[in-house]
């Protein structure tokens, strides 16, 4: 029985520092979690562009890999992987999909993990805002309250909600492969998200796709407030580093 940290292709390819941070946090909370080499892509994007036959084939291949490696449980740091693993794997494989899938935020928000983390921010009270990624809020088991529970548990951190939140949040424009072909979507929508960041000093996201789009828009528009991946933020707090100093 292996408990796997499923990092997701995008994070693994582009955000290795974040991956290291996530692994540190997860292993701190449960050392039995491991990272494996050659983990296959969940295939998220292909749900928009693959045929049912191709998808079924891919899902079965990935599931065989899970079987082969005796994977019983996954914590994934990718919002897209969480959404697709919980939705389409069950849909295509039914009972044959036996892996328990948790998102990083779900895992963190478990009461015993929150108390073990016992997070405190030293220094001036930090006001943060959280962007609800579509992949998390739209999932079969939506992840909406977990990030709020985590943030509310951190001493000296205050969650300042934006205007469009939870199931009503603005999509960053990076879903469905749109980002790679029609960036104009995120030009407008990601900017709208920043426009709502009134009271928060920084913007948190738990989705690598949102992070990619938001980071580009932040740079292009010379926005001062940073966008930070949830994993990086948590590790900063754990290690007593001011997230704004990075």
């Amino acid at each position: 029985m292996t408990k796997l940290i499923y990092l997701g292709c995008l994070s693994n390819s582009r955000y290795q520092e974040t991956c290291k941070n996530a692994i540190k946090i997860i292993k701190f909370l449960d050392p039995s979690y491991t990272v494996l080499e050659d983990v296959p892509c969940c295939g998220a994007l292909s749900y928009h562009i693959g045929s049912d036959i191709e998808l079924k084939d891919h899902v079965e291949n990935v599931n065989s890999w899970f079987d082969l490696n005796d994977i019983s449980q996954i914590v994934t740091t990718c919002a897209g992987c969480y959404n697709y693993l919980t939705k389409y794997y069950a849909q295509f494989l039914g009972q044959d999909f036996k892996v328990k899938v948790l998102h990083f935020l779900q895992f963190l928000a478990e009461p015993e993990n929150l108390s073990k983390l016992d997070l405190k921010h030293s220094g001036k009270k930090l006001k943060v805002s959280y962007h609800d990624a579509c992949h998390l809020r739209n999932a079969v088991i939506p992840i909406i309250e977990e990030p709020r529970r985590i943030l509310n548990s951190i001493e000296n951190v205050e969650l300042k909600e934006m205007e469009s939140i939870k199931t009503n949040s603005i999509c960053c424009g990076a879903g469905g492969g749109v980002y790679s072909i029609f960036k104009e979507n995120s030009d407008y929508n990601s900017k709208l998200i920043f426009d709502q960041l009134n009271r928060g000093k920084l913007l948190l996201t738990a989705c690598p796709f949102c992070f990619t789009a938001l980071t580009r828009i932040r740079e292009e528009n010379q926005i001062k407030k940073p966008v930070i991946k949830f994993e990086d933020f948590i590790l900063n707090i754990m290690e007593g580093v001011d997230p704004l100093s990075e």
Binding site: S13, C41, L45, G177, V178, E184, N185
Partner: protein, 433 residues
Amino acid sequence: MNESGKGLYEKVKNKIEASQEEGTLEKQFGDFWKFACVIKTRQHDLRYLYDDTSREFVDKNRDNLIEMREEFVKNMDAYVEKCINIMRKKNFTVHYAKTNEQAQKIFMEELGDARIIYKSKSNEAKDIGIIDVLKENGISIKETDLGDVLVQLFDYKLPSFQVGPGAHFTEEEIAKKIKEVYGVELEPKAQAIVNYFRSTYRKELLNDVKISLTSANAISAEDGTIVLGENEGNISLITRATDKHIVVCGITKIVPTIFDAILVTKLQSRINNVSFNYISLISGPSNTSDIQGTSVQGMYGAKEVVVILVDDWRTKAVNENLIYADFLKCIGCKSCIYPCTASRAFGNIYASKYGLGATAIIRDYIHNGIEAAVNDGLFLCTGCENCYHWCPVSINCGEILKNMKKEATEKGLAPPYLEQYKEKIFKDKNPFL
């Protein structure tokens, strides 16, 4: 198949480029639309008219609405039959058209020798192809909703917002256009423009209408009542001061009871934050029994009310469980476009001849196939499902579009870059390498 994925991708890309250039029609509409969407989504949570917000109103009625629509779809045949029977008893002239083509033929027969038709905004008439047939036959269509009147005045060909079709024209532009077309100098103010149309067009609507065309917001199967909501009074005028009022709509406008029909209409008003200052309940042609109790049709209102109920794709969608079967629940409120990521960003590029947004693209797909849908910007949808969270009957347009994308991919119509992604996923196990 005439186009390749690459060709269609470039077409959409060109439209997007045009929308970024100052002075283009696309840019003008896009700027208006972005603003409108922000206002409309904000209004959803305001308490400026009623005790509850529109969101609260929708949430309160959602379960009831879903149940009502699912019940209708499950027993569509029975409700249609019931509705037709009661309507005939109430002296409506009712036609049931199996296909759009049949409906168009029936419509032309009902039109007789008439060469002019007065219409109120009707998306259903577009869906059923009535507008195209009227144009082909040289019948003059006179719009009566001010927004549509303006669209017609400007000869605006791009898709516009179904609920407020001319809302993107400025007062200055309208005044200038009126000067150009009618030679009348007006102060560029909304009130002056309205006064102008009231003083010129209203007389015509009261005296000259022989045949009028509307859709229906909803039709009650229990008593055959047609519900029509509006705020200008144009529908009231052209459905009363006419010889023949023709109602054309899909059978999915039918709901079980009159209370359901009112609820649907009220919801359409609340969710769009538009006032329906008039709601008409039409239960048959104008009639009097004041002379010796003899029932005579055609007193002051319409002498005849003709209803053309069209099936076309609808029964087939249920029976064959087509990817858009869920769309049958749609009550046509059109509110799904306000929170839509793609619609906000791309305005009338993410649109079809049926209007803006996902539902208009789904309609184009149903009638004109997948290539038309890709050309309408199908691949601009991020799948964020805001439409689903917003929808009062929980239709997941995002899911329908995802299935349409699959079909497009299978037929080689997807943007080439996405195809490469797929290859990488399946072969290299990582699309981002």
